[in-house]
Subunit: 228 residues, 2 copies
Amino acid sequence: MKRHFDADLEDLRGRLLRMGGLCEEMIHAAVKLVVERDEAHLTAVEDWERQVNRLHLEIDDVCLKLIALHQPAAGDLRLIAAALKINSDLERVGDQAVNIAETGVFLCKEPHIKLGDIPRMVEVAAGMLKDALDSFSRGDVELAREVIRRDDEEDRLKSQTFNELVHLMQRDASAIQRGMDVILIARNLERIADHATNIAEDVIFMVLGKDIRHPAEQRASEGPTATA
Amino acid sequence: MKRHFDADLEDLRGRLLRMGGLCEEMIHAAVKLVVERDEAHLTAVEDWERQVNRLHLEIDDVCLKLIALHQPAAGDLRLIAAALKINSDLERVGDQAVNIAETGVFLCKEPHIKLGDIPRMVEVAAGMLKDALDSFSRGDVELAREVIRRDDEEDRLKSQTFNELVHLMQRDASAIQRGMDVILIARNLERIADHATNIAEDVIFMVLGKDIRHPAEQRASEGPTATA
């Protein structure tokens, strides 16, 4: 029974990593569409989205079945709880990638516009997601902490892009609609980095049984914090 | 033991509803700040955010303890799984309200600008959240379905606001920065409506054991869909 359960947990982990890999592909293809101004990438993004959505349903279902059948405690339970949350975050990463691709399709039909720090933002966001998933796969708390630290860099790049585009729009009213679109893409990438941060926080909780979110409220909280 | 468990579930439900009520207050205060151009509301929003964050930590902890101690199955397990997800969504609703208030503080210092359909968007988003929480409290599937239907209205209002502001910015370059801010507030409200939709979907799953997300993938999925 125990060995069967371990195999089930391994299978769960595998599905999440597969879903995460698809999300990474989606991000890269969506931004490629924007940068190369090539609508052809949309089909791939949409195909991957369907696979991500299917995994989203399956993983939730697997998690509840594992709890109901095996009544896990301590670390196993924290793994399943983390899986439930990471599953939600990944599905939303997929949504953000679709948004980027859809905005990109609109931009392809318009004159060229500066993309600010978008290329660097993709590198940071996709890198954070990749490392958050690696930290989950290996239970690597140090890597998870590093992912969380990198979120500030993404916020800085977003503000920079935001300012650059606003200046451009102020000089050239014909660029307003397109400038807005680039800003929205920057926001999508920032949100992907936020989801990667959430995943990293879940990994730390999963490994240490310690909730590191909301540090100020953590100290003030009446209740206990860990289910160790 | 069973009666004790029922009391614990009731307590969990109560905490979530309290958290939801705080989020509703946050939304109304944040938008009041924007509409009345009165920074004084920021303190209240920040106070409530701390309470919401505290509940966020507590509720996750309570859910894991309930699973570990009582090994729930079927409906009880679905309730706890729904609580875990609704907890995440509510915390993010709180974040969106804080974003609105912070953008509002910036807008207060600038000349007045048109707010498009923002007042109507608040009504719709806050109404959806309230009804999603009521549907959770009463296990009311019909109300949950109605919440999901209303999300289209919010999307329509957001697009309308977006277009109105872009036109304004095209006519008046001095309004670009402020126009951008109003558009970002509209996005925050749209996201609050999305979270309300997520909550309504969780309620339907909780009550019926039926996952209604991603209907296209639902049919194509290899796996079973319900843990009934």
